[in-house]
Amino acid sequence: MFGLVDANNFYVSCERVFQPRYEKRPVVVLSNNDGNVVSRSAEVKALGIQMGAPYFEVKELLKANNAAVFSSNYALYGSMSARVMYCIAQRVPAIEIYSIDEAFLDLHGLEQHLTPYLGRLDNLAHTIRTDVKRRTGIPTCVGVAPTKTLAKLANRLAKKLPDLDGVLYLDSAERQAWALRQVAVGDVWGIGRQYAAKLMAAGIDSAADLARVSDAWARKHLGGVVGARLVQELHGRPCSGLHPSEDGTLSRQSISCSRTFGRPLTGYTDVLAAVTTFLSRAAEKLRAQGDIAYVLTVYISKNRFAPHVLPPYSRSATLTLPGGPTADTTVLLSYASSLLGRLWEPGTAYHKAGVVLDGLEPPGTGQQLSLFSSPPAATQPDNEREEKTSQASRPGLMASLDALNQRFGRGTVRLATALPAPAEPAVPGGSNRPAWEGKAQWRSPAFTTRLEDLLLVN
């Protein structure tokens, strides 16, 4: 059996834990840069406001209903997520942290062996739910089923139907069949918008309809073996187990970091500062998983919705690192800035930038010496010193950098390129924020991670 614990409108719930005055009021949390609605309280859902709705479109409706609006506060959500996951992990043999607010649970054998829950995994699910609520204040729902796909589906129903009291256990074939009938095909885990449209056109409307298609049909129309597995999972036959958790053990195949800017930027140094910041973050993640990268991509985008902007809206440049793979921020930056220089069109307003690191490998595995790169001795004596300082990786320096930033907070030690241009002096008394940084007008305090921001009680 698998379980899926999912927090109810997690970001909103985090805000409410430390600001109980918003408990019964409509609350939304906005995405980076205060652009779109990314978390909605039940009251907001009842107003018909959709997930992802642009804030400017729903602003008046929210105001009319006395809704509280928050900018996203990832310091708070990350720290509360860690507490929630820790709490869940104490109750079950293994968990897979699927996202900031979701975890799969491995419950195999527990229905037979765990004494207080003999045959009653729903009781275990209720225990987890009350435990998480009591220790963190975060409400959750739990789905329990023989496969991950069904657990996800059970969770969805547990959230939707208040009578279930937050837990749905699909222990029998009858319950599974009932549950499949309740869920639209587009809401099945793994069915995206395009597949959903295709399936509906073929007369497959519910998860139950999808479970009835033949193996051959699924292979042909739902992306081969992936689709066939999905259908098997709906039948209660598990095709995938738990994947290693994100807390360090899950190695990514590629690492990217991008942001939409707070306002359009036309200055090269401002955009370079943004790229440097994203690259520093990506390289930090790369080092945290112990890898080096072979390929670097930089991209910059214009705002396609702004008037008089001509395509191409986005340009990218990719480079297989000529000096060999590295995890050194300074080395990567020297390449990134030349890539950015190649993409740069003077006089253009950019509104987004990003970097991607690909070809990740632990150092020393399958590394091949380049046929054409010159051995160090062959470099011209004049350039030698410069070559060494700009190209040589310095794992010790990077380790110290990461250690300092972990201990004293992210961004304590940065590359100078990441800093705001000196031509724009900081506003006296104002924050010294780089030009690219997004709007976050309504961000709540970092209640759990900053001494200055702790909850005040009278």
Partner: protein, 156 residues
């Protein structure tokens, strides 16, 4: 043929000190990423708190609990897991606002009692209006002005 040389294994007589684990965690939550050995410091969170992962730090504003030696600027460790009981000092939510008071049961009714005559006791009549956020298990009061005193100065 090769000779085998026997190397005697000497039993250690001297005591062996195991270092304590410590991690720098701002709100008492253990971060698996920051596990590292340190031989001198130990972690007050782990040492003192019953449920570090269910404990939150809050800061006191105001003097309504001055009689209980809880003053403005003090840090409180609040355990959300503990069941609140008679005489516990709690963080309660009264009409949506957080407040620190003593929970007292007098003749069948529950009260939130301030420890300062300038403030009025609050009788809990409607459980919809009042909830217990957590139980205060520890208090950190600075005797030598330091970080907390500095924080207090910057706030007002």
């Amino acid at each position: 043929m090769s000779d085998v040389e026997l190397i005697p294994v000497v039993a250690t007589e001297t005591p062996f000190f195991l270092p304590l684990f410590s991690c720098t965690v701002p709100a008492g939550f253990p971060s698996p990423a920051s596990d590292h050995l340190e031989d001198e410091l130990f972690d007050l969170n782990r040492l003192l708190l019953r449920h570090p992962d269910a404990t939150y730090l809050v800061r006191v504003a105001g003097e309504s609990m001055a009689g209980a030696e809880i003053h403005a600027g003090d840090l409180l460790a609040v355990d959300k897991q503990m069941e609140a009981d008679h005489n516990h000092i709690v963080v309660a939510v009264v009409e949506g606002e957080c407040t620190v008071k003593q929970l007292v049961c007098k003749g069948g009714t529950w009260w939130l009692m301030p420890a300062n005559p300038a403030f009025k006791p609050y009788e809990i009549r409607d459980t919809d209006e009042v909830s217990i956020w957590g139980v205060v298990t520890h208090m950190l009061h600075e005797l030598v002005p330091g970080k907390l005193a500095a924080l207090l100065r910057t706030r007002d």
